[in-house]
């Protein structure tokens, strides 16, 4: 058996072989890409046809809208892409989500002084529907999520935190890292959380738990309750269920600090 060369000559040879493979690979890839592009073009055309045919339904029916969006997503088409173009002009879908985004911002701003900029998707949904009135287009939670994603992409300080099967929508750029998020998720069940509970559930040191809770207090997302049986409880207005049914009264409006 010849010993494999490890001298300079062998290395050069190896490099040449690799280059040849790469070139071949590139040629192959280019081929495939050309094919795929063609297929995508076809898909796109079909999707556009589909969209014009079912324009009304897409506007009216939120279920339909979800499925349509998913179809678009699989081929990398974003009907919400801003600016002109087939989608925004044809369907006015862009308008729908743009307006929804504005509504969402309004609701979040109106309630920020209460909940520090954190609101459950449920409450947001309730209030958006209320604001739209009886004869407006139906809006689903999926619609909200998409609109929020758009807002997030535009850099409006929006974010979504998964809790208890749904989401908490964050509308202020408070810095929330993984630790904070996980504590919020823990608090979701009862609307409050304690140091003990955090230590027991998450197996953290006391100091880490306190650090997170202090941050939530500082961001105005949590309030301290020191009259609880046992140790202090940290409550989140965003998770306080009674809150979601209450409108902002004139008195409350007057208290809002700018």
């Amino acid at each position: 058996m010849h010993r494999r060369g490890v001298g300079a000559g062998a290395i050069a040879k190896k490099k040449l072989a690799e280059a040849k493979y790469r070139e071949r690979g590139t040629v192959l890839a280019e081929d495939q890409i050309a094919q795929m592009s063609k297929q995508l073009e076809t898909f796109k055309t079909h999707l556009e046809e589909f969209a014009s045919k079912h324009k009304q339904e897409i506007r009216k029916n939120s279920q339909f809208r979800v499925q349509f969006q998913e179809m678009c997503a699989t081929i990398g088409v974003d009907p919400l892409a801003s600016g002109k173009g087939f989608w925004s002009e044809m369907l006015g879908v862009g308008d729908f989500y743009y307006e929804l985004g504005v509504q969402i911002i309004e609701v979040c701003l109106a309630l920020k002084h209460r909940n520090g900029g954190l609101i459950t998707l449920d409450e947001l949904h309730q209030r958006v529907l209320k604001g739209r009135g009886k004869f407006a287009q139906d809006v689903s939670q999926d619609d909200l999520v998409r609109a929020i994603k758009k807002l997030k992409a535009m850099g409006n300080g929006f974010g979504m935190i998964p809790v208890g099967g749904s989401y908490l929508v964050q509308s202020v750029p408070a810095e929330l890292n993984m630790d904070h998020t996980v504590v919020l998720q823990l608090a979701e069940k009862k609307g409050y959380v304690t140091v003990m509970e955090i230590k027991d559930s998450l197996k953290w040191e006391r100091e880490r738990a306190c650090h997170v809770l202090d941050h939530l207090l500082k961001e105005g997302l949590a309030w301290l309750d020191s009259q609880a049986d046992g140790e202090p409880q940290y409550w989140l207005p965003a998770l306080f269920s009674e809150l979601s049914s209450r409108d902002v009264t004139p008195e409350e409006a007057n208290q809002m600090t700018p």
């Binding site: 209460r114 500082k218 309030w223 020191s226 609880a228 409550w235 306080f240």
Partner: protein
Amino acid sequence: MSFEWPWQYNFPPFFTLQPNVDTRQKQLAAWCSLVLSYCRHRKLYTLDVMEAQESPVFNNKKIARKLSMEAIQVVFEELRKKGNLEWMDKNKTRCLVMWRRPEEWGKLIYQWVSKNGMVNSVFTLYELSNGDDTENEEFHGLEEWMLLRSLQALQTEGKAEIITMDDGKGVKFF
């Protein structure tokens, strides 16, 4: 008509003085609003601090939370700074609660007087606060010390003059 409690009233932390400065500001603003609305609803013009601790405003039995004496004093100090509260004694055991300021009362009273074409008439204080004619007015039942202050405010504006009569005080409106 029963009193409508604000959402904060059933929120346990509302009864703990908040450590975060911004949150505390919101909390105190809400407390001031609540105290004034409550007094307005019950037509309370004075509060005794000891009694107040046990009153439903500061003591929510349903959620077993109450504002501490220290916190109550902080709320009262806020109200005092805003011009809605005055201590009646140096020890701060009793206070006057002005859920409407004297100027605002004065305006209401004057509106009633002019609406009924009674400018240039003379009234006794009693007539204004307890007379049959004023039964449906908001200032009906106004305590004398408050009524006097309101009229004094009008006097400063040149809209009234307080006169001393045989058996008490009266007022003439211009």
